[in-house]
Assembly symmetry: C2
Homo-oligomer: 437 residues x 2
């Protein structure tokens, strides 16, 4: 029986009842003989309420003080959780990020973990305690200031601690049952996966799936820490995210997969279909078709600290020697990007800019597509049959993404999900013939 | 222009508006050329809300975790206050008790300060910052755990920092205008003092005055740090608490005292009248009148960790060789004390116990009574004229206290206040004749 790290999100500890329910689950794990480290987020809407207070006293809250403020939320939930566990007759101690040894850089509001030195956690565990750690926070290496890790920070705290403590598994408890083959709100027949490889999870996370953030999965892959994503409201097993399918899943699979009518996961070529409607598309019209033009455009965008996603350059119209370059980026950064490009118009020498935020992106992810011909063809046929027009295409070794009209996203996701035999009432995953991808 | 420590209580920073008002006051002090360190309490009812949450998850919250929970309150207020100051264009940094170097023992929920090592505060000040420090909290010397200082802890934090930083003054901002000659809710003609000596303030604090806690004044006296108690809602000067009357008060006095029709404070014999209705009286009836009996009784009480206040032993009735011993203690500890004594009944050999929580205590305080005869006589005459019956008497060099019925407390305080010329429409303090106290 090894060490288990469990992470509970804000919705799992939204009130006193939630905290007591989580405490019972933690104690159950301890009773099964594990050493248990728990990472906890702030209760329910606490963080939003603190942000609201900050905006009332200062329109642009300062980084250092803002982090000091926000970290109060986890301090409350972790102390309450430790009390609730003690009330069940078990020993528990809570630790701030700093006390837990979560060392970060000094970039306030989105610090990165540099090192984890969990000496105090180890001592607490050796003394028989359950260790409760504040998620989302650390302490800066140089100035010893309190920092926060930004979006999804608590998941990253959990994985980082699991790595530093050489944990057996990092369990991420959330309000959904696991990772699905598509968003269940869009695809009614979406299936919960019992396992997904790190690589596929990374692609899903970067193409719209919100269950786990890319950063957290990347950390887990680097240190080879299996993640188990599961619901804190049910007792059911969730989805394992790891380098290889856990041997322990074999027997359980036939039951759960059988009851869902699915195929054994070993045969799966495709992990899932993700979608994203949070991006916009900018088209730079009439760019001189000569070397260095694209570099000038994307340098202007990069200097404004904007992350871009897909890029497409049209074939030049021979008559004019002008071309169009399109790229996608988060809608939230659209305004900033348009300004940066406008300022650079004379330098770059383009005709005009077009901004379009009525787009959606659909991605098909699966390590199996590397070796299985015909995936691309099936994908485009499915979209075509659903009457969905494709505006941009981008691929990686294990992913194909297309941009469509935002209105078409839901039907596109459903069509692709069915075409690859992912629907929960399909008997088998589709087997591909033909050549090429 | 030296260093000023300012402390703001929870009612002063109850909401965003309060925080902004306090920020302006702090910046005004900084603009006058001072280095400023601010100690802040949790916003309004935050601490009570956290206690309520703790009780929901665990009936008897554990000390260490309870401290971790409660300190979140100051973390929120101090970060917001720093943001509000920055928003006014001044530099501010917030520090937890631990970051500020407030080192305590390990007694959770009521830790005592062992040392203050404010290196980071000093650096922040030298760099031109206003330093904001979380009140009420520290870090334990041995285990590096977060501790809280108990009731009135933020005032103690402020005085301790003032001592460690060699501050010119420790300003305690509160929701009253200063220290009064009696509780203004009871005595309409109570007068705000412009100065009171440490010794008199200590006696007032231990006999019912709630403006400053005994512990905080004791700390200030030990390190000779002048305290200035004043309102955060008005701009008026409050009450100085120090070893000697500040020279700077001379001119201001004649104005303020004149407008109130009072006497120059230099002549004052009596500082004020305090009262306390939070105590109960236990009488141990029929105690054998032989050596060691009182020791046995108070050992039983002390072992239950109960603090007692006044003690009176009746003259023994010769016929029975039995006596009665009465003492007062906080009502909140009455139940525990009665249990402890009942358990010890056979050992001590008393007849019975009587419990009375309908008592009140009135105390007259003033260093001048040491050298002024007649104070005691005037005190008892005033009580007698007001028809107040006295149940217990206790004295120190600069204080006389009596226990009466709780119903008599208000009229007793008013009578004594008038008799010593403390009413705001009196022209002069009373001059005593006669001999004895």
């Amino acid at each position: 029986m090894g060490l288990v790290v469990q992470k509970y999100g804000g919705s799992s500890v939204a009130d006193a009842e939630g905290i007591k329910r989580v405490a019972r689950r933690i104690v159950d794990t301890k009773k099964r003989g594990h050493q248990v480290v728990v990472v906890v987020s702030a209760m329910g809407d606490t963080t939003d309420e603190l942000i609201d207070l900050a905006e009332q006293v200062s329109p642009i809250p300062a980084g250092r003080e803002f982090d000091m403020l926000l970290t109060a939320g986890e301090r409350i939930s972790m102390a309450l959780l430790a009390m609730a566990i003690k009330n069940l007759g078990h020993e528990a101690q809570s630790f701030t990020g700093s006390q837990a040894g979560v060392i970060t850089d000094s970039v306030h509001n989105k610090a990165r973990i540099i090192d984890v030195t969990p000496g105090r956690i180890r001592t607490a565990l050796d003394e028989g305690n359950i260790a409760i750690v504040a998620g989302f926070q650390g302490v800066s290496q140089d100035k010893k200031d309190i920092t926060t890790l930004g979006r999804g920070g608590s998941d990253t705290t959990a994985v980082a601690l699991a790595a530093a403590l050489d944990a057996e598994v990092c369990e991420i408890y959330t309000d959904v049952d696991g990772v699905f083959t598509a968003d269940p709100r869009v695809v009614k027949k979406a299936r919960k996966m019992d396992w997904i490889a790190f690589e596929d999870m990374l692609e899903l996370a970067s193409s719209g799936s919100k269950v786990l953030l890319h950063r957290c999965v990347e950390y887990a892959r680097r240190y080879n820490i299996p993640i188990h994503v599961r619901s804190s409201f049910s007792g059911l097993p969730g989805t394992w995210v790891s380098s290889e399918r856990p041997a322990s899943l074999a027997s359980r699979d036939h039951v759960s997969q059988g009851s869902q009518g699915g195929s054994p996961v070993e045969q799966a070529i495709i992990s899932g279909v993700s979608h994203d409607t949070s991006e916009a598309k900018i088209t730079v019209v009439g760019v001189p078709d000569k070397p260095g033009e694209a570099a000038t455009i994307f340098r202007a965008v990069a200097d404004a600290e904007i992350n871009i996603d897909m890029i497409v350059q049209n074939v030049s119209a021979a008559a004019t020697a002008l071309t169009d370059i399109s790229f996608t980026l988060p809608k939230s950064e659209g305004h900033k990007a348009m300004e940066a490009l406008s300022r650079a118009q004379t330098v770059i020498g383009f005709d005009s800019l077009r901004y379009d935020d009525q787009i959606g992106k659909i991605s098909l992810v699966g390590a199996g597509m590397k070796t299985n011909p015909g995936v691309t063809a099936t994908f485009f046929e499915a979209l075509s049959n659903a009457g969905v027009n494709i505006e941009l295409i981008s691929t990686s070794e294990i992913r194909i993404s297309v941009v469509t009209r935002a209105d078409d996203v839901n039907s596109a996701v459903q069509a692709v999900h069915s075409a690859f035999g992912l629907d929960s009432d399909s008997d088998e995953a589709v087997v591909y013939g033909g050549t090429g991808r």
